[in-house]
């Protein structure tokens, strides 16, 4: 396996270098993710430059009226006085908002990591002054990107941290998904598996019409976590709300999918024949592989949290995956990376944020890219419109992805239009 650094897998493909940020880089971001909480206003506290990206994103994504800023300066920071400014800003904000929010997310920047701000201290003041308001703290702190609790993970904790332990018991037969910002496709077999397991009412935060609806997530019988991003939030909910959780990571490996469903079904002691779904996924892969007829494929981590798992499935089924773009490899995906390095040593693994990426970028190539950033960097003529595994899960997810890949090669893709449509703001 070749890599951007020319180093073998064992000595580490993934290097920390000066980071390059391509025009296709980005995703949901902290502000957009936290906007999933209905009737929640965000107060962003930071020096003004730190607010630029979120402000532009909110404008593009249509959340401008739910986002406010408290800009702080050097004097506020070094004196520690800005902790006092926050409750004052909340008072003023609540006076001015036409519709009083049910919840407030105070989003702080890397500064707070450096200053060790005691958030609980100012939250206590705000809660006392505004007892009806649910208030929490979110972190827009890229300083933690390489740590164990990066911003995308932390914001999930902050969002679900707004839930309170309910007085009423859990609602039987209910489950909620944590961590995936877009709900899974309801045509997926996972919903049948869940029904068979006794879960007839399966919810997602995006389906909550108002804060009361969101609040009811505190009464679920089970939380399902299809992406690593939601794991800590679900663990918090186990402790704070007493809701059991099941980690069911998205996968493109048939055996792993089967094992995941097995665990879900074992909760109820029931079984289910998933053969038809598996065969359909296989048929879709075969059909698309035939359709592509050896067209090189680029798999990119902006499309899936499991790029190596997906690449392996494609390679095993006759696709010619020539490049995988991934800044790092999560532990769950490591065995798939190792498998690829052993069986397909010519498949390149490139880091999209590597400083050489803009130099190595191809303006145009006759390839199909699965993922936006890989599309930009490889210049792929065709792009499958997939981001963050959205809507994809299980055998149905494999079938759907294969169909999207087949559709993508029907005509050259306008990548800029795809990026705009997805709401990416650099």
């Amino acid at each position: 396996m070749r890599s951007c650094c020319g180093c073998p897998v064992a000595s580490g493909i993934f290097r920390n270098t000066v980071r390059y940020c391509s025009p296709s880089h980005g995703g949901w971001g902290i502000v957009r993710t936290a906007m999933l909480v209905p009737e929640c206003h965000q107060l962003f506290v930071s020096p003004f430059a730190c607010g630029r990206h979120g402000a532009l994103g909110a404008f593009v994504q249509g959340f401008k009226d739910r986002l406010s800023y408290l800009y702080i300066d050097e004097a506020d920071i070094v004196s520690g006085g800005y902790e006092e400014l926050i409750p004052q800003a909340v008072d003023r904000l609540l006076e001015r908002l036409v519709k009083e929010p049910r919840a407030l997310m105070i989003v702080v920047s890397c500064l707070d990591d450096l200053l060790c701000t005691d958030h609980e201290a100012f939250l206590a003041v705000i809660r006392e002054r505004h007892p009806g308001l649910r208030v929490g703290v979110g972190h827009m702190n890229p300083i933690s990107l390489d740590g164990n609790v990066p911003p995308a993970v932390n914001i999930q904790r902050s969002m679900y941290g707004l839930l309170k332990r309910p007085d009423e018991p859990a609602i039987p037969g209910t489950a909620a998904f944590y961590g995936n910002n877009v709900p899974l496709d309801e045509k997926g077999e996972i919903f049948e598996v869940l029904r068979t397991s006794g879960f007839h009412d399966v919810r997602h935060i995006s389906g909550c019409s108002d804060f009361d609806d969101f609040d009811e997530l505190s009464r679920m019988s089970l939380n399902l976590v299809p992406t690593p991003t939601g794991r800590l939030a679900a663990k918090d909910a186990e402790k704070a709300l007493g809701i059991d959780s099941e980690y069911v990571p998205v996968s493109y490996d048939f055996d792993e999918i089967e094992e995941c469903y097995g665990r879900l079904l074992s909760r109820s002691g029931r079984s289910m024949d998933l053969g038809d779904y598996r065969r359909e996924a296989q048929r879709s892969l075969d059909e698309t592989a035939n359709r592509l007829d050896g067209l090189p494929v680029v798999v990119d981590a902006s499309a899936t949290v499991r790029p190596f798992c997906l690449a392996r499935t494609l390679l095993m089924n006759g696709f010619k995956v020539d490049t995988v773009y991934a800044q790092k490899c999560i532990p769950l995906d490591r065995p798939y990376l190792e498998w690829i390095s052993e069986k397909f040593p010519d498949t390149e693994v490139l880091q999209p944020e590597h400083h050489r990426s803009p130099i190595a970028r191809e303006a145009e190539s006759f390839r199909l890219a699965v993922g936006f950033e890989g599309a930009y960097l490889s210049g792929a003529r065709y792009v499958a419109n997939v981001a963050n595994d959205e809507t994809l899960y299980g055998y149905h997810g494999v079938s759907k992805l294969a169909a999207m890949m087949a559709r993508a090669v029907e005509r050259p893709t306008d990548l800029r239009a795809l990026l705009d449509d997805y709401g990416i703001v650099v």
């Binding site: 520690g80 990591d113 060790c116 701000t117 005691d118 609980e120 201290a121 164990n148």
Partner: protein, 253 residues
């Protein structure tokens, strides 16, 4: 679990007192963890035969993603679990942030749940000058603070500052001031001066530690008084201090 922070002016003898306190508590059968929160990283050398304990920040520098508890927790004399937060390169970086990072790493690695110490002692450099140095007294960390002081003006001044910080943070549920430890310098009217300060800040003197040459001899021997000279009067003073610290601290277990 008792979580206790030892504060005081730099050079007043916090690390010596804390290490002897750890050794005394350990000799009483308690499982003790001592966490040095000083960029000099010398809090626990007396419990480790004069050897440096690898610091959390150094471990993070060397292996950012793969730090394990075995890398940063060293079992010292009497089984005391020794941790040094460490600090930045002198002259650059931020020592306060270093403490925060070290604490976060210990939590992330479940240090307290895995080692389950009966007593955690935080040995904290100097004054509560910023958020990082206040970290040990925040919710979830130390519940009780003892301040080491002598009768010297600067030591009393620092003790007063620390007490003021604790008082300011009272409404936040931070640690409480549980007493002063007088580490004698044998200056005139020393006990009276320290007792006077104690009265003004609403606390009392827990123990008066004598100025004894055996302390220096123990340091020269790369050990603690309690470990090397257990029958000395000074060792008995440390044991007495340990008993009083136990009486005055909260067991959150």
């Amino acid at each position: 679990m008792r979580k206790i922070a030892i504060y005081g002016k730099g050079g007043i003898g916090k690390s010596t007192t804390t290490s002897n306190l750890s050794a005394a508590l350990s000799s009483m059968g308690y499982r003790v963890m001592q966490i040095g929160c000083d960029p000099k990283s010398d809090s626990t050398t007396g419990l480790n035969g004069g050897r440096d304990v690898p610091t959390v920040l150094d471990a993070l520098r060397n292996n950012p993603e793969g730090v394990t508890l075995e890398d940063i927790v060293v079992q010292g004399a009497g089984g005391v679990l020794c941790v040094e937060a460490g600090g930045p390169t002198p002259g650059i970086g931020c020592a306060g942030r270093g403490i925060i990072t070290a604490f976060e790493k210990l939590e992330e690695l479940d240090a307290y749940e895995i080692y389950r110490p009966d007593i955690v002692l935080y040995d904290v450099l100097g004054d509560v000058v910023c958020g990082g140095f206040a970290m040990p007294i925040r919710g979830g960390y130390a519940r009780d603070v003892f301040i080491v002081t002598s009768g010297e003006k600067m030591a009393l001044f620092a003790a007063n500052n620390i007490a003021t910080a604790l008082s300011n943070f009272k409404s936040r549920g931070y640690a409480r001031l549980s007493g002063l430890i007088l580490n004698s310098r044998n200056i005139e009217k020393e006990v009276e001066m320290v007792e006077d300060l104690a009265g003004r800040i609403g606390t009392s003197v827990v123990e008066v530690l004598s100025r004894s040459p055996v302390v220096q001899r123990a340091e020269d021997g790369n050990g603690t008084v309690v470990g090397l000279f257990p029958d000395s009067p000074m060792a008995k003073e440390y044991v007495s201090l340990a008993e009083k610290v136990l009486e005055r601290s909260v067991d959150d277990a």
